[in-house]
Point group: C2
Chain length 168, copies 2
């Protein structure tokens, strides 16, 4: 197992799911006749990020994983989205990065010293970063799901899991 | 990278974190003078599991991973907990399973055909199961966190992430 299999491909699948949850949010807002942007500002606790930021940070974890584990510079995606189409464009930009990466891009990940901006110059190994970034990605992804779900958007567990290739 | 590194060790870390969130829930309930069992019955949506079940299912995903990926039978943990000490005992039981497993136990995982009870006899590969069980584990773990957090328990992001071994 390789970061491409254990980190990048699951993020690709789950961001594709997230994109669909936003479509379901739009459908719910149309049905209930309210601006879908109201959902983008919803949050689970008053001192936690609203949905719009949960989506951005989920994207940033995937963007960080696919570039940092390949020892590449991390492109800047300014936090300017205020609409669902803008958030979907951000997801699409990250999906393009994930699609463009292949297993060979991560050949050197185990030897990396990865320092995130808030680490004040300290670093963790590539393997520790894999664990961190997966945990952090799922945090923001599941929180986005929960914000939609707790506001009545018609999402179910299989919308979270997504397609499974079950064989007979 | 190996299921022990990418599946088992992160689950061990995150279940240890979950155990601590329950302690913080107890402290919060004592401070606010309400029965902590009220939190165990809290949920984010009326048709979603309450906290007590989110903890059970997070545990079950870890128990399933450590046994199924080693091609071992999955022990039964009946869903009978109604108190925090009982939930902590379930977490501890799963942590013992995770602690007892080493990388060699998963040597044959890639060749496994894994069928979960709800798959009606169909199966997925060991690698597909790794992706599924990690996504499902984090779903229930983050939902547990969100139920506590949205009810005012004093949890922050670093309680979710847990310890990081940062080097100078």
């Amino acid at each position: 197992m390789h970061p491409h299999t254990t980190v990048i491909l699951p993020m690709k699948k789950m961001l594709t799911n997230l994109d669909r949850w936003l479509d379901l949010a739009v459908a719910f807002a149309e049905k209930k006749r309210f601006p879908v942007e109201n959902l983008l500002q919803a949050r689970l606790a008053p001192d936690q990020y609203p949905l719009v930021a949960q989506v951005r940070v989920a994207c940033d974890n995937a963007k960080g994983a696919v570039t940092r584990l390949a020892n590449q510079p991390v492109p800047s995606h300014p936090d300017t989205e205020t609409t669902v189409p803008e958030l979907k464009a951000r997801i699409a930009a990250v999906l393009r990065l994930l699609d463009a990466a292949g297993p060979d891009d991560f050949a050197g990940y185990a030897a990396l010293k990865i320092s995130l901006p808030w680490m004040a110059g300290k670093w963790i190994t590539g393997e520790e970063y894999c664990q961190f970034v997966v945990a952090n990605f799922y945090f923001h992804l599941v929180t986005a799901y929960s914000i939609l779900r707790s506001n009545g958007v018609e999402l179910g567990k299989m919308d979270y899991i997504g397609a499974l290739d079950m064989r007979e």
